[in-house]
């Protein structure tokens, strides 16, 4: 049983989703605007946020950025198929995943479960020792990443991506492999999820995002952790 914060302005859609998610065993707090949702978050907690991008007043992107500024909880965007640019903007604003409306309850449920799995860190490795990669220290047990000794605040998906990549330094992972491993989506997933997440991750761990050291792009193939050039 997890707590879902649902922000959706359309009454019927909100109600439908609330019924469906409640039946799946979630406790749903539904709000019709970003402001109310944020207000709720400041006093109560949630495990996952399901956020409509098209909101009156404060739009979904802004809500997403505000949540990201204070918390690392997973965010799933609700979007329409023809809002391609919105998807990219939402992912850049910090969303972990998105679903296209109209969405069936079981599809949304699968996504929620996937993001929750990432934040619970159940798939973390058993190795206890801290790994050092240049200035980065990755503690796979405690799920803590430090840069120059300072803890880096990573959203669950970003953390999962970093863990996945750093598990096999120097090996190229395709977007599909990463989608399958991190988002549980594979070939039918949207590779922009990976690209947007890589961008956010780089902004947090790289010194210079234009010449990334840790998460490198291999054109035509995918991404690779390192190799780090010895100093």
């Amino acid at each position: 049983m997890s707590r879902v914060l649902l922000i959706e302005d359309h009454h019927t859609v909100r109600e439908g989703l609330r019924i469906a998610l409640t039946r799946q065993g979630h406790s749903v707090d539904a709000f019709d605007s970003g402001e109310r949702g944020l207000a709720h978050l400041s006093s109560a907690s949630a495990d996952v946020v399901v956020l409509d991008l098209m909101l009156p007043g404060m739009d979904g992107f802004e809500v997403c950025r505000r949540i990201r500024a204070s918390q690392d909880l997973p965010i799933i965007m609700l979007t329409a198929r023809d809002d391609d640019m919105d998807v990219v903007a939402g992912l850049e604003a910090g969303a972990d995943d998105y679903v296209v409306k109209p969405v069936q309850a079981r599809v949304l449920e699968a996504r929620i479960r996937a993001v929750l799995r990432r934040s619970n860190g159940r798939a973390a490795s058993e190795s206890t020792a801290e790994e050092r990669h240049g200035d980065l220290t990755i503690d796979r047990a405690a799920l803590v990443v430090r840069k120059d000794g300072e803890p880096v605040s990573l959203a669950p998906t970003e953390l999962r991506l970093l863990l996945e990549l750093s598990a096999t330094p120097g090996r190229v992972l395709s977007r599909q492999q990463l989608l399958e491993a991190v988002w549980d989506q594979g070939y039918l997933g949207d590779s922009r999820l990976v690209d947007a997440c890589v961008q956010r991750l780089r902004a947090k761990i790289e010194k210079d995002t234009t010449t990334p050291v840790y998460v490198q792009t291999v054109r035509g193939f995918g991404y690779r952790f390192g190799p780090l050039v010895p100093r």
Partner: protein
Amino acid sequence: MTGWALGLRGRLLLAFAVLGLSTTALVAGVSYWQARTVILQKAQDAAVVSLVDEVSRLAPVRELPPSQAELESIASAVSEGPDPALVRYGNLSAGDGLAAVDVPPQLHRAVTEGRVVWQRISVDGVPVLAIGTELMADKRDGGTEPTGIEIYRAHPLAEEQHSIDQLAALAWSTGAASLVLAVLLALLAARGVLRPVSELGRAARRLGEGDLQSRATVRGGDELAGVAQIFNQTAERLERQVGELRRMEADARRFVADVSHELRTPLAAMTAVTDVLDEESAKLPGDAGKAARLVSQETQNLAQLVEDLIEISRFDAGTAALTVDDLDIAAAVRATLRSRGWTDRVSTDLPDGVTARLDPRRLDVVLANMVGNALRHGAPPVTVELRATNGWVVVTVADHGPGLAPTVLDHVFDRFYKADSARSRSDGAGLGLAIALENAKLHGGTLVAGNREPHGAVFTLVLPQDGVS
């Protein structure tokens, strides 16, 4: 016939050349002919007058028939000039540079008529005027009578020939100059006429190629300008009408898109609870359960239809965008089959290592439509084959059903086309294959439908490996 193949420029040139030449030939020819006649007439008259004058001033004849000496004295008297002469009487003759055989027989016959006669003849290519006369005797009553003495003289016309040749040369060069002038004028006129014609032609070709704003330049007020004006009016009307049609079509499409968007919100709410309906329908008694299942099923169909409508409007509006990625096609095909639970119903031949830069979601849509269509309308076994050739990925989906009728083949990608009018709409007629085709085109590829031996339909998807350029 050849006149028509000449073209406008050729015909103008020919007309001008013929006109120029015939005018020049007429003018130059007439004046040449006249001048020639005058020159010859003058020369002939002078020669005849000179002979007549000399003959009438001869010493009186003493004896008839004349003695040879007398003939010779006459001959020497009339051949004092540069021209040779001959004097005859019966069988006798006396001459200086001229023999009896040199006298043309017709002239000889004509001389006895009692008048001065002459004839132009050609001696070794040189024109010569042969003059002949009979010496007459004055009679006591003032008349004359023939004496039988014939006097001939030859006057060369070489000088006249030279003058006339010069005249001819002048006429020829005048003709040549006029021909050149005519050709130049023709070229000038052709340019003046043909430039607007070819401009009009270019404008018409552009219009034919679809540039509805193509207009011809209207110059002056001649017939060509009139044609250009009519062309422009026609093009304008065409542009207006086509614009109107396009506007109406765009309006219709926008209406469909707007309606679809409006339907989306209620559908989003309904779709969210279809699972609830499905679960609860089992517990509902009788018709209530059936009704709940029916609502759930049709909600999903309606949602799919609305999504398809929105998708096709995006293709129509040209706003459909590709999100390409490097894909392992075999894996992508397997994922599509797996996600729809078709893995066991389809036999596959998917070699590993075939990659291409494609939009995974759109590829999934195309593959799902191809396979779904084969499963719905064809007969098993349904096969999916993957091949890579020369930078192209080829995916073939075949079934063993009856295949597509020729009338169906032409329309299989049409929107809402129903192969069988008896079949209901929910039975597959929709936008699926139309969207699949649009997606293939968006990638720079193709999707074609066909039949194969011995029977069965084949859909072949061809996509570029290195993405759209």
